[in-house]
């Protein structure tokens, strides 16, 4: 039952198979399998405490995988150090403390690229996606509004030219208009640059407006998955996510 396997390993950018992980003796993520193709967006849905963030952290290498595999373009990256994963184009956006509040916007963006000189060339993309970020270049990131901070987060991921983006609840606390903007940027990034995006969300409308496919995580296991466009989606979600 666990697994979204409508892609063969050959096409998958990110392939997760039988992944389990947790903290100390506690297992939080249990035997999770899925894959994402280039240009595809998968959203993991589920309530708090179900293991969504843990799953992202395990893929990124922050938490040791107890078993299972994680493959990037076919090569195993499970339990590789996070900084190596980051350099190989995994862009991870955590839910909390995701920007350096005491650094300037520019410095935050510089941290997204491996060499400072690359930033200039890639600023165009940021300007196109979020003009306001480019304007606040020298401002301390902590002084940005909540929405602007989220834009900075995405901008930082964009300048790193990722193959895969792992994004943890980007929509949380945002105005509806801002949520729409985020959705647009994510869709275009995935479509135009072929980035595979793994979203973790609780905001259902946003999730469904962005993702190609969904998977529902309950107590660490994937209990349901499917195409967003499928006719059953609404019913399935209703069954799993509402009381």
């Amino acid at each position: 039952m666990s697994g979204v396997t409508n892609q063969s390993a050959g096409e998958a950018r990110l392939q997760v198979a039988g992944l389990s992980s947790g903290y100390g003796p506690v297992t939080v993520v249990r035997d999770v399998s899925f894959s994402i193709a280039p240009g595809e967006i998968l959203v993991i849905l589920g309530k708090n405490g179900m293991g969504k963030s843990t799953l992202l952290k395990t893929i990124m290498g922050f938490i040791r995988a107890k078993s299972g595999s994680v493959r990037l373009d076919g090569s195993e990256i499970a339990n590789r150090a996070p900084h190596l994963n980051a350099r190989e184009a995994l862009a991870y956006t955590p839910q909390e403390y995701a920007i350096f509040q005491d650094l300037t916007v520019e410095e935050n963006l510089r941290l997204g690229v491996t060499e400072d000189r690359l930033l200039g060339a890639r600023m165009g993309e940021v300007e196109a996606a979020f003009p306001v970020i480019a304007k606040r270049f020298k401002q301390r990131a902590g002084t940005l509004s909540g929405g602007e901070q989220k834009m900075l987060l995405l901008s930082r991921s964009l300048v790193s030219r990722p193959k895969i983006m792992l994004i943890d609840e980007i929509s949380e606390g945002l105005q509806p208009s801002m949520v729409n903007r985020m959705a647009q940027v994510l869709r275009s990034t995935s479509a135009e640059k072929g980035v595979a995006i793994l979203l973790v969300e609780q905001n259902l409308p946003f999730a469904l407006s962005v993702a190609d496919r969904y998977a529902i995580l309950k107590i660490g296991e994937i209990v349901e998955q499917g195409d967003v466009a499928h006719a059953d989606t609404a019913a399935t979600l209703e069954r799993h996510l509402r009381i």
Partner: protein
């Protein structure tokens, strides 16, 4: 050893503990026998060397109590040793010599050391002090004291110290016996102490000081008292050292001796008592032997061994032996995660229901007015007003970052909030420390299950009873009296069958259960629970939900519950408070909250939870 006659009369239930006492006494007797006979075959030189080493071993013993058991890295224990030594030398040199003077000098030494330690404790063990700060103060202590001695001129003998003052020119064997008996007595008491109720508290402080405070344990006071007592013991050994060797010098109070004693303890094995004693004796005696001929090589070897032990064997060389012993034992008896005979019996505490009934008429259990909390420019809570009523289970919901956990913090620790008042059963909490607020009847559980890893379930429960039942300094209670709901949780989770298991081996669910049982053991009137069911299985949740409902309904507790699982909330709660960006959005019944347009508006298209 005042406990021993009593141990003879204890009833069956405490047989195990009395066995513990007898075993200790037997060990002490063997040690005394060794001390008594050692001079007969050691020869004058070794006796001489070992007499000094025995006094230093007593110093190491106190360092182990402070650092090994309680986790306070102290560089300054030598200061107290020096105070004792100088009390002896100064009195004998300048005022007089004789039995009366000797006792007077000893008393002065102990008193000065203990007062100094007490003042140091007041300075460095306040609630919220970083462990580094107390280390800094203990580092400053010997440096200042040495300087005082240096500037004492003829009175203290400055750098040369004092020597040749009148003292008891007993035979070296006699001195050896004095030192040996002193060390054995001190070690025996220390041995019983660390195995007593109080000893568990020391370990609990080392492992999680903050949690201790939230169980109502007066951490600062206990640390200060321990520091003072250890200072007294160090002063006695310093006094003995000076009287025996007939010389004192500033180095006896210095920073170098302070760090050296850390090295003895680290090499011997911190938190073992025996290890540090053997470490001190071994290193001091060997350096007497070797340093004459190999001063630099010897220091080099000590340095390399020290660094290697710290990195590779954090529990000291003793851990090689005890580790092997443990492995040998567990091969027969099963691992540490197996339930063992804990020697602890649970009994029911006098019913809290009666107590709750008695307090029913008074003011509401908790009242919060205009509570505000800011970190710099960030306002986490803004003017919250809530009143908790007896028998009410109040759930706090809201998205991440809404300020739910901060609210708990501000209630349970008087120093956290920046504005507003919190009144618990009619008493304004002011700037009280967590343990005082626990005393008012507020119990708090934490989001992360960070318990006391190396304590057993039984130890943890007894720890939680400290505020009510106290603790005995040289004796281990065999029964833990718990209020009924705590017993129920233990029974429901099967923890009552695992009282002897160290908590690190517990499953997540059991840890949650133990956490809750511990909070209930403090007999709170107000219960603050931060996601008590996070990560639990469905049956476990149901069990805990059941207990919570009963706590509110039958025992009249006022419960504040942070919970994400709205299914759960709906099942057990009769009132919901919604927080959003630090503000109280709504306060009402489950139905009111669900149907609220305001909540919908804020959460619109955003949060599944609010659409319950």
């Amino acid at each position: 050893m005042a406990d021993i006659p009593a141990a003879g009369r204890v009833p069956d239930a405490t047989r195990r503990s009395s066995r513990q006492v007898w075993r200790t006494v037997l060990g002490a007797a063997i040690a005394l026998a060794i001390v008594a006979t050692a001079p007969l075959y050691l020869g004058t030189y070794m006796t001489n060397v070992l007499t000094r080493a025995l006094f230093l071993a007593a110093l190491a013993l106190t360092v182990d109590l402070i650092w090994g058991y309680t986790g306070i890295l102290t560089f300054g224990q030598s200061a107290f040793f020096g105070i004792g030594a100088y009390a002896c030398a100064l009195v004998f040199t300048h005022w007089g010599f004789g039995a009366g003077w000797a006792i007077g000098a000893l008393v002065i030494g102990i008193a000065v050391a203990m007062v100094t330690a007490w003042l140091t404790g007041l300075l460095s063990f306040y609630h919220g002090a970083s462990p580094l700060y107390s280390s800094i103060v203990t580092l400053a202590l010997p440096i200042v004291l040495t300087q005082v001695i240096f500037s004492g001129g003829r009175f203290t003998g400055s750098s040369s110290g004092l020597s040749g003052f009148p003292t008891y020119y007993w035979k070296i064997d006699t001195w050896f016996w004095i030192a040996g008996v002193f060390l054995v007595v001190a070690a025996t008491f220390a041995w019983l102490f660390v195995r007593s109720d109080y000893g568990r508290i020391l370990i609990a402080i080392r492992e999680n000081e903050d949690r201790c405070a939230y169980l109502g344990i007066p951490v600062s006071r206990i640390k200060t008292a321990l520091f003072a007592v250890c200072a007294g013991i160090a002063a006695i050994s310093g006094f003995g050292y000076a009287a025996f060797s007939n010389v004192v010098a500033p180095e006896l109070a210095g920073f170098q001796l302070g760090t050296e004693s850390l090295i003895w303890v680290a090499l011997g094995g911190r938190g073992t008592l025996i290890g540090p004693i053997l470490g001190a004796i071994g290193i001091d005696a060997t350096s007497s032997y070797l340093s004459g001929n190999l001063p630099f090589l010897w220091n080099f070897i000590v340095g390399v061994t020290f660094v290697a032990v710290i990195i590779l064997l954090p529990n000291g060389i003793a851990s090689l032996i005890t580790g092997a012993w443990r492995r040998y034992r567990t091969r027969g008896a099963g691992g540490g995660d197996q339930p063992r005979d804990s020697g602890i019996r649970l009994t029911a505490a006098p019913s809290v229901r009666a107590a709750a009934a008695a307090g029913r008429s008074a003011s509401p259990p908790i009242r919060i007015d205009g509570l505000t909390c800011r970190y710099g420019s960030l306002t986490v809570l803004d003017g919250i007003d809530v009143e908790g009523k007896q028998g009410q289970l109040l759930s706090i919901v809201g998205p991440n970052g809404a300020g739910k956990t901060t609210l708990m913090r501000c209630i349970s620790n008087g120093t956290e909030r920046t504005g507003g008042t919190v009144t618990v059963a009619g008493t304004e909490i002011g700037r009280s420390s967590p343990q005082k607020i626990v005393g008012l009847g507020v119990g708090r559980s934490f989001q992360n299950t960070s318990l006391f890893d190396s304590l057993t379930v039984g130890d943890c429960l007894r720890l939680a009873r400290y505020r009510i039942d106290g603790a005995r300094p040289f004796y281990r209670s065999e029964t833990v009296a718990l209020p009924e709901p705590a017993l129920e949780i233990l029974a429901a989770t099967g923890l009552d069958q695992r009282l002897g298991v160290e908590t690190r081996y517990l499953s997540h669910g059991m840890k949650r259960g133990l956490e809750l049982a511990m909070v209930l053991a403090t007999e709170p009137r107000v219960l603050l629970l931060d996601e008590p069911t996070a990560g639990l299985t469905k049956p476990e949740r149901t069990a805990i939900g059941h207990v919570l409902t009963r706590l509110a309904e039958e025992y009249g507790l006022c419960i504040f519950l942070i919970e994400h699982d709205l299914d759960f909330v709906r099942e057990i709660s009769n009132r919901i408070v919604v927080l959003h960006q630090g503000k109280l959005l709504l306060d009402g019944t489950v139905e009111e909250v669900v149907s609220s347009e305001l909540v919908k508006a804020v959460y619109a298209g955003q949060d599944l939870e609010a659409t319950v």
